[in-house]
Each structure stands twice: as structure tokens, then as C-alpha cells.
Symmetry: C2
Subunit: 252 residues, 2 copies
């Protein structure tokens, strides 16, 4: 569903897990969700990573869910004692939480009833009022509580859940972007690029240096972003002209 023109649909990500903060696990979900949101027209505005501590999770959930259209959490919904996301989200919303029969039924599509022990039932604890999000990989569901989507931390499962969630989201105009190779040092075009940004305040122009580890030192890319294709084209043309003029002045 597409929002009214000019209505920005925003989102935040909350990554939950000591293993990310200790460096043991390298997060792969932030970049994936960021790409996904850009593709469907949702503006990702903030990311936080917090440890497996209830007070931290509750505070972050409440700070982010009240500020953005959507909040996506990853991590902490498995069967072990350190998985406290569902309980924390229930607390953030001030609702009870218990084993949810719908979640039990989902697990039973993969498990024998005699294997449904206390630990696995922990994965069926769902805050009252939440809708379940199917998990095509390992059955244990995520859920949606208000504007908060609670997903697994394992990237493959998170991605499967996001495929279920994506089509249900309200989306805004898509951010369009064009990338130009500068072929010049940033310091050579910084001021001129700033002037172009001022001329096109409704576009967002960024300059991104990249170090080529395979040799060749730095290369710089200029990215122009706008939701308006005509404005984007105008700003890109201005940046292209700037690059050509600066190169010509250097005999390049």
C-alpha cells in the first residue's frame, strides 16, 4: 500500500544481542534491511544495537516505536534463557505474555508433540494482541505488535520473515539515486559540490571515499538522491558538469 504523496514512511532497526556487541557475531541484518527498505520506499532513520538486558530492550523499543512509522527488531526469540525479546516487547507495550496456541500449532508442523518441551514452548510466548509472522525456515514465528515487527536474528530466518512482512507495509515514494565516479580528490570538489547541494535543497548529495585495497588508493563516488526524478536528473547534470569542468581545469 502506498502512502499519500509527500508522506514519508519511516523505520528504525533494533538489533538485540550481546554477541553483536562483543564482536563474536558480525551483524548482517542491518545492511540487508536497509537495502530492502530503500527498495520499497521506506526511509530507515535510525539503528540501535543493545545487549540482552530487559531494561535496555524496553527503553529502546519505546523510544523507537513512538518516533518512527515502523520498528524492526532482530534477535532474541530463540528457545534459550538469553532470548528475552518477546517478554521485553510485551513489557514495553504493557500487555501480558503467555504461550500462544497459534504459535504452538506452527511449531507442531515441524516437531513431534513429545519434543515440544519447556525450551521450545518459550519460542511460543507471544504478547497478547500480537499477530504472528510465519517462519518458512524453522517454523518458530516472529510477530507484529502494533508497529513493531519482531524477527529472528539468524539472517536466513530474518530474511524469510521480512519477505512475509514487506507486502503488508505502507510505503512512500521510493528514493531514487544516481552514482557518479568523481575521478578527483574530495578536497578538489568539496566546495563546488556544497554549492550544488545548496542549489538543490530537495535532493541529498553525498560524497563517499573508498579505499581500494587492491591498489590505486582512494576513489570517490558522488551519490545524488531524490524522490523526484526530474529534480534528480537536474542535480545529476549539475554534478556531472562540475566534474567535467574541474577535470578540464586540471588537464584531465
Amino acid at each position: 500500500m502506498t502512502a499519500a504523496p509527500n508522506q514519508a514512511i519511516t523505520a528504525a532497526i533494533l538489533v538485540i544481542g550481546d554477541e553483536i556487541l562483543s564482536g563474536r557475531t558480525k551483524d548482517a541484518n542491518i545492511g540487508y534491511i536497509a537495502d530492502y527498505m530503500t527498495l520499497i520506499g521506506v526511509d530507515l532513520k535510525e539503528v540501535r544495537v543493545v545487549p540482552d538486558e530487559e531494561a535496555e530492550i524496553v527503553a529502546a523499543v519505546n523510544a523507537l516505536r513512538t518516533r518512527y512509522t515502523y520498528l524492526f527488531t532482530t534477535g532474541g526469540i530463540g528457545p534459550t534463557h538469553d532470548d528475552i525479546t518477546a517478554d521485553s516487547v510485551a513489557k514495553a507495550f504493557g500487555v501480558p505474555i503467555d504461550v500462544d496456541q497459534r504459535a504452538v500449532d506452527m511449531l507442531l508442523t515441524r516437531l513431534k508433540r513429545e519434543d515440544l518441551n519447556e525450551a521450545r514452548l518459550r519460542m511460543c510466548r507471544i504478547p497478547q494482541g500480537a499477530e504472528l509472522v510465519a517462519n518458512a525456515v524453522s517454523a518458530a514465528p516472529g510477530f507484529r505488535m502494533g508497529n513493531v515487527f519482531v524477527m529472528a536474528g539468524v539472517p536466513r530466518i530474518m530474511q524469510a520473515m521480512l519477505d512475509v512482512i514487506g507486502p503488508t507495509l505502507q510505503t512512500g515514494a521510493k528514493m531514487l539515486s544516481e552514482t557518479l565516479e568523481a575521478g578527483l580528490p574530495e578536497g578538489a570538489y568539496g566546495s563546488a559540490l556544497g554549492e550544488i547541494q545548496k542549489r538543490f535543497p530537495q535532493t541529498s548529495i553525498g560524497s563517499y571515499p573508498h579505499f581500494n585495497t587492491s591498489g590505486g588508493g582512494f576513489s570517490n563516488q558522488i551519490v545524488v538522491r531524490s524522490k523526484d526524478p526530474a529534480l534528480l536528473a537536474e542535480a545529476v547534470a549539475a554534478v556531472r558538469l562540475m566534474i567535467e569542468e574541474l577535470k578540464a581545469a586540471r588537464g584531465l
Copy 2:
């Protein structure tokens, strides 16, 4: 310098940049800094990613610098208009900012004076009272303002700056950890592992499922962490015994 025993030294990371939130650039600094902090005995407690917007940067800098021993920022200190980190940090501390002659001198070790244009001088804007952090890669410095370390976003430069910063940090006892392959589904040991966590409240025990894309489905690792080597060994022994008993009960 090592802190008094039992004094935890904490840190947060603030990643600054639209390019991370749009998905264009995949962050590589969070995991690197997390590993580095664990290695030297600093507890990374929180990470935030915010866009190139002054109000957002100021709010996040102030929220994090007042709560943790150290705050490390990455990104937004280049020569283009979207590089607003130094000005935002000055605002967060309520101090003036201007071109700093020490930073100019550093740039002049790499640049000819005639190439020191307005854009490059932007990289020399340093909040009053800050100490510079040398940049062995491309000369433009980072800085330390109070307990806030402002670093570049390009991983290679950030890493060079962190090598300068690391030895100046106060550090606590190092977190020790041991990893055991469970060889069992998480649901089979979740309850028993929770009991072990209760018996060893001063250790932190986590269970991390991993999906092997090369085949073989999921494997689970149990990580036991503690700053006390004797406690760590005791808890690890308990986890190892639990695994052996559960495997034996399944005829594995």
C-alpha cells in the same frame, strides 16, 4: 592503563551517515571496534546509527557520552558539505569550533599549501579544547573531545586512528570466553542451559544458532563468558557435562 578491579569500563559507538541507513554502504566498523574493545577489556554496551542531520547527531552524542565511559564516532569528517560531525560534536559540548592550526600543519605534511582550499580546510575544523588524533593514512586528523573519540568512516582510516587511540584508553578486566559446539538442537538443551546460567549468575551464557549455507542445516554454539577464569572454567565444565548427558540420552 588498567582500571581498579571490578570497575567496568564501558563504551558506545555512534555511526554517522545516510549511506549506512540507505544500504548503499555496508558498515564494517561496528564489528571491528567490537572485537577491538573485547580484546582490550572495554565493554561495548550500545551502538547507534544516525543520519547526517545535526540535531540527530547532537542528541545521540549527548545521550551516549553521558552514559558510557567512552563514545566512538565514525563518519562525517571529510571535506564535503555532508560532513557535519565535527560541528555537531562542538554543539553537543557547547564549545566553539574553528579551523585548527595543528590540523592544518598535519594536512600540509601531505598537501601543497596552494591545494589547501576551503573544502580541505573544512577537515581542519576542530572543536575548542579537543586533542587531535593522527591519521597515518590520509593525514586529516580525528579528535578527542572529553570522552568522545571522533574517527573517520573509511574503515582503513578508522582502524589507523583506533591504533592511536587504543593505548590511551583506560581498560578493565578482559572478558574471557569459551565456545562449545552443542551438536544438538537448541530446543533440546534450552531449559538445562538456563539452569546452568542460574547456577553461575556471574557468567554470561549465550546460545547461537548458525545456518550453514554450504549444507548441513543449523549448528548451535554455546558461548560462556566471564572475567573470572576460575568461574569460567566451572561453568564451561557444567555446560560440557550437560551436552554429554543429553547426547548420551539420545544415543549420540
